[in-house]
Symmetry: C2
Subunit: 184 residues, 2 copies
């Protein structure tokens, strides 16, 4: 259900196409809520029916036609009430099968699992690099930001600290397992 509001949130400032949204959900917003383009297109239809978003067609030269969506006033109201609605706080479970696999660590699978941790380390490094760049560019002085941007900054900051923690964990894990792995 939150996907609906995540989409509306992405539309707060700009009008966007389904495709734009899909890419937004691949990047920053997607750190908090992932969604495939299929989900997004379907949700956009639902939102249109409810009149929480409106769309107009945009014929670009030499490109397929696209539908640009924007928030309606009703949508904005709905979003605002959602924000202050009680959420069932579920402390984040890092739903990652790697942890379950780690519970099964053995001589037979250690090399594979070590390689998986290394791969994650790489991927996280890259993402972290991206986030740090955004931070330096747009959020260098958080205390001077207008209120709403402070919120966005905090979400970003969460991504950054989580990423750093994750890297540190990978290093610790790789170090602990080094003596049992390939080299033995």
């Amino acid at each position: 259900m939150s996907l609906r509001y995540a989409i509306m949130t992405a539309l707060l400032d700009d009008e966007m196409s389904g495709y734009d949204l899909a890419r937004a959900f691949d990047k920053s917003l997607g750190f908090f809520w992932h969604a495939s383009h299929q989900q997004i297109y379907r949700e956009l239809h639902t939102l249109s029916e409810r009149r929480w978003v409106a769309h107009r067609d945009d014929q670009q030269a030499g490109r397929p036609q696209r539908h640009l969506y924007r928030l309606t006033d009703d949508g904005r109201d709905a979003l605002e009430s959602w924000v202050i609605q009680a959420d069932r706080m579920r402390l984040q479970e890092s739903k990652d099968e790697l942890y379950i696999k780690l519970y099964n660590l053995s001589e037979r699978n250690i090399d594979y699992l070590v390689s998986r941790i290394e791969a994650r380390r790489e991927a996280m490094m890259e993402r972290l690099y991206l986030y740090e760049r955004i931070r330096r560019r747009h959020y260098a002085e958080p205390r001077t930001l207008p209120l709403r941007r402070k919120g966005v900054y905090l979400a970003l900051l969460s991504g950054i600290t989580q990423g750093r923690q994750y890297l540190a964990w990978c290093d610790e894990a790789l170090s602990l397992l080094a003596s049992d792995g390939r080299g033995r």
Copy 2:
């Protein structure tokens, strides 16, 4: 699909009832993979059909009868092959609607959102406390552990470092928002 293997993982050492499993998923294992008792009972039936687990009835004095499940050899094999099967690594998205709500931070909702962060901070403190206790008791000397327990330790360690990072983030967030909140 991973729930299936999470359940089998929980059964690696002990035989357990659905109820036991449900509580295991409320605690440590549940930090990585949450599951309701309904899911668990259903999955246990499926696993029984596949002969990956077997069960026996246990009539306890003055208690409802329960079914104790244990891994079969087939189940153990299936689990082992799953561990070394390629996972589609999806870098953890912390799927938490709070972050989306933060993107919508405004004068109207700041007090609510601050209270939500405080609530999460409390909850995480408690959980972290539990994890730290387990760590001190059972994993004080990680380098001397047998291999499989090293894996479990690493999962626990991930929970702990994530928890600490989360607390630090909450504090940072509360500090940043303090000047804009109730007091103003």
